[in-house]
Symmetry: C2
Subunit: 402 residues, 2 copies
Amino acid sequence: MLVEQVGRGRSVIAQRVSELESAGLIESAGLGPSSGGRAPRRLRLAAERGLALGVDIAATELVVGVADLTGTVLDTRQQAIDVADGPEPVLSLAERLADELVGTRTAPVWAIGVGVPGPVEFRTGLPVVPPIMPGWDRYPIRDRLAARFRAPVWVDNDVNLMALGELRSDPDAGTAGHVLYVRAGIGIGAAIVMDGKLYRGANGSAGDIGHVAIPEGGSIICRCGNLGCLEAVAGGAALARDGRMLAESRQSPALAAVLAQARAIRPYDVAQAAEKGDRAARALLQRTSALLGGTLATLVSFYNPNLLVLGGGIARAKARVLAAIREAIYRRALPLATQDLRIEVSTLPEEVSGVTGAVHLALDEVFSPANLELWLEAGSPTALDHSATVTTTLPATRPRSI
Amino acid sequence: MLVEQVGRGRSVIAQRVSELESAGLIESAGLGPSSGGRAPRRLRLAAERGLALGVDIAATELVVGVADLTGTVLDTRQQAIDVADGPEPVLSLAERLADELVGTRTAPVWAIGVGVPGPVEFRTGLPVVPPIMPGWDRYPIRDRLAARFRAPVWVDNDVNLMALGELRSDPDAGTAGHVLYVRAGIGIGAAIVMDGKLYRGANGSAGDIGHVAIPEGGSIICRCGNLGCLEAVAGGAALARDGRMLAESRQSPALAAVLAQARAIRPYDVAQAAEKGDRAARALLQRTSALLGGTLATLVSFYNPNLLVLGGGIARAKARVLAAIREAIYRRALPLATQDLRIEVSTLPEEVSGVTGAVHLALDEVFSPANLELWLEAGSPTALDHSATVTTTLPATRPRSI
């Protein structure tokens, strides 16, 4: 079986298996059913030999998780943050939560995956001019965590990790050839999956669509400093801002009631009000969805995916929102580009997909053939914990297997 | 050497070489320099054993070329057409020109590549709802030419073929990992190259950006029936239309003179007038370039290429146009996405790149491992000339080696 699956000779595999066994990475799981000859020996990954940490830094929330070597998340901690407070408080908190999660577990941390809500140069793990993360530009997240936990660290854009988490949890999405994963919430971003692999582009920024200019953007100033960005017009903050206007102008009785009581309007309130039949809230939600759908139509024409997955806050939206997005895509995208397109909603909650993806990123990298080669002799991936070593083993611009 | 390059065992290669030799596909080219042992035998492709035809159908021009098996174009014919006249007159003319080119050559036609100015379902070779090709929707170009020339035929979008021609002719572009090739002329389209391979998406329509909605599109009606398409605002026809307005309103003395004499304004006239210092023409050209650049900024943010090649009519534009496009991209795209981005102009004239790409498409496909396997036994690829056979051997959605 292994011989067929791996497509290598029997002796090469036997040697590899024995190396992995002496490193304690795989172990025997008894004998399998014989197909005539000698009963085959079954092997399994020694899942509890090491731990993987996942750190998912979102704009207003931090999730840290600990997983075994198969990527099964064992426990998580979640806490509200403001990413704009900068790396020091956010990473200190992440370190504390990770310490709690590792706690009395005896297995060592073998790999750490980190997601941040901004563009990351994947080769170096550095955030580069991230629009909503003041103070994080080129901050050495990887070096800091690698030194703290004596384990190799990989950093990526949070949307890439959500897509990875989704693909690993949804067998259907995992096998679709060309997937566009779109996270729409406070931030808007996309991840590109090609023949089952995350596509990161030349510098790791592929999919960063939150700040592209959109037709209906007009002169709305975005927090990034540009005019008419997608996020400024169709993101969660825009929905809250426009919802507040509807409340203050009393066009929306439902939102006016929320504002009077809570003194703030959240995107969720607009969705709730629309759901309850408030007409102004419904119209606003409809318009925002159509604006997002218009940009997605451009991306569908350009990339021609066969599956579009909507994740983030929008995944909690009701049928009405999705219908508006679908309608905009089918109306504006090229007929051939939508001929076989499926548009679906993420099956995982945002917090879960991000941290799951972070753990899988770390495991994919630490067990990549090149990295495995590097640390097998030392017996443990802590030998990889110098960032220079880690970096040079990673091809800079090639998509990696997910 | 072959053993190292191909990464297969010596005996497998020896068998393959002998198969190819008996098919007359490769021939001996004497002995190479010895590196100690027996002098190696040199092999070369028997370039003149067969012919490849390239048919490049543009909106207003048809180019047909004949090439040897290495892809070297031996001769071409070029003629003005209107693609909107439909498949019958255009393909009849293509067949006649191909007959002339094949003429008294004795080698058989082994493969035909065809480019059309619209979306093509690559798997079936059918144009699908092509916006500027009335009468061509699902027209069986492949079956018609395959029956006429008794050779296998592959059909693709013309921009993909121009990108392929460019990559094969420009070693620099050929090795860049992530290339976005943009053809801007009467039509606007893009081709996506990923790790040296054309990326066609799920249905073959990837890169079709001519009819995406753009921020400044307003209520301009496109020939495709939608509002505010990129092509309707920043394509060559838009340039001519707006140039005519400048002429009629006498805002542009240079264009008014052209209109008085020639009774029409071509995109080229606007560029010429701008070059000669006509201020209105210069402003128009600047604005059109900035609009195109704005859409390219979105695509650069999304795809994060390391090389953007501008081809088509715009490649003949002077520095001023390119500066405006570059400026728009650097201003709007994410800083990380443009960090290592090179923006260059196509090195091949449009007519040459299209037909070169068509020939290379045909040769890539006919010599793909799967197809080679199919026809080697019969001794000639004419055995592939039934479209059903051809189609099923081609994976529908995977990018192919270029």
